[in-house]
Symmetry: C2
Subunit: 197 residues, 2 copies
C-alpha cells in the first residue's frame, strides 16, 4: 500500500485534488486559495509545480482527452465494418469514462470562458465528429437501421454515454463494474432492450 | 397572433422570463434585480405577482413535473404489457421534454439548496421510481433481454432522454420535430440501432 505524505506532493497528487475541487465548486468558482486549502499546501508550493489553475485545468482535461482519443487508434477501432468499430469505440469510451471519471466529468462541464476551455471544447467537437463519421459509415454500409435519423441517434448514443458522469458511482473493489456498464450500453444501443422474437 | 404588451405582464410571461434567466445564470446566481431587469418591470411589480424567486422556481418546476406525471396517467401508460407501457412513457416523456424544454431543463438542474429544490428532487425521484418499477415489470414479463442489468439500463435510458436538454434545440416551425426525436429514442432503446439480420 502506498502512503501519500502531505509534504511530498507530486504533480499527480495536486492534479487529482484540483480536479475534485473543480468538479465540486466549478472551475470559475475555484480560486488558488481553495486549491491551497484542499491540498493542504501553500500557494507558493502549488506555484512550484504549475503556473496556475489554468495549467491544472489543461492537464486534467488533457488526461481525459488523451484517454478518449487513444481509443480511436486502438486496433479494433481502425479495421473491419464501421458498425463493429463504432460499437467497440462506444464500449471503450464507457470504460475510459469510468476509469477516469473525475477527469471526464470536468471535461464535460467545461464552459468556454478561458482559452484552455475553448481548446478543450474544440477537441471534444473533434472527437464527436470522428464518432459521427463512423456512424455515417456504418449507415452507408447498411448496418444501421434506415428508419432512424443518424445524426439524432449519434447525439442520443453519446448523451447516454455521457450521462454516466451524472449518475455512475463506482462500487468499492468492483473492478469489473466499468466493463458491465460498457456491455449494457452497447447491447442497449445496438441491439435494443426488447427480447428478440 | 397574440401580442404581448410590456405593460400587461401576466404571471405566465413573468414565469417564462424567470425560467430563461434561471437557466442562464443558475437559480442560486439569480437575484430579484436580475429578474426585474430581464423582465423590464420593477421589483415591486414582480412582488405584485409572486412572493419571490422561490415561488417562481416552484411554479416553473411544477409545470415540468405536472407534464411528466400526467404521462403516467395516460391510457396507454396504464394498461397492457409493461414493455409497451414503458416504451409509450419513454416516447411521451421525450415529447414533454421537447414541448417544455426550458422548464424541464430547469428541473433537471435543480441542486437542493432550498426547500423548493429539495421538494423538486423528491418528486423527480418519485417519477424515476415509477419508471424503474415499469422496467422491472417488463423484465418480469420476459419482454426485456435477460443479459442486461435492468437498473443500469433504466439509468442509461433516462440518461439518454435527459441528455436532450443539453443538445436539443428546436428548429423553428418544425412541429413534428419532438415526435421524430421520441421515435428515434424508442427505436434505439427498445429495438437497437443495428439492422436486424
Amino acid at each position: 500500500m502506498t502512503t501519500v505524505r502531505r509534504d511530498t506532493y507530486t504533480p499527480e497528487t495536486l492534479l487529482s485534488v484540483a480536479v475534485r475541487v473543480f468538479n465540486e465548486r466549478g472551475y470559475d468558482g475555484t480560486s488558488m486559495e481553495h486549491l491551497s486549502k484542499a491540498a493542504g499546501i501553500s500557494k507558493s508550493s502549488i506555484y512550484h509545480h504549475v503556473s496556475g489553475k489554468e495549467e491544472l485545468l489543461r492537464r486534467a482535461v488533457s488526461r481525459a482527452l488523451d484517454g478518449l482519443f487513444a481509443v480511436l487508434d486502438e486496433d479494433p477501432a481502425t479495421r473491419g465494418r464501421a458498425v463493429e468499430r463504432v460499437e467497440y469505440v462506444t464500449r471503450r469510451t464507457v470504460e475510459v469514462l469510468v476509469d477516469e471519471l473525475p477527469y471526464v466529468t470536468l471535461l464535460l462541464r467545461v464552459r468556454g470562458n478561458t482559452r484552455t476551455e475553448r481548446w478543450a471544447l474544440e477537441r471534444r467537437r473533434e472527437f464527436d465528429h470522428r464518432i459521427a463519421e463512423l456512424m455515417k459509415a456504418a449507415a452507408a454500409e447498411g448496418d444501421l437501421r434506415s428508419d432512424v435519423d443518424i445524426k439524432i441517434a449519434t447525439r442520443l448514443l453519446f448523451g447516454m454515454v455521457n450521462s454516466l458522469v451524472e449518475w455512475y458511482r463506482p462500487q468499492p473493489g468492483d473492478g469489473a463494474d466499468g466493463r458491465q456498464v460498457a456491455e449494457t450500453v452497447a447491447r442497449l444501443a445496438f441491439d435494443g432492450l426488447r427480447t428478440t422474437r
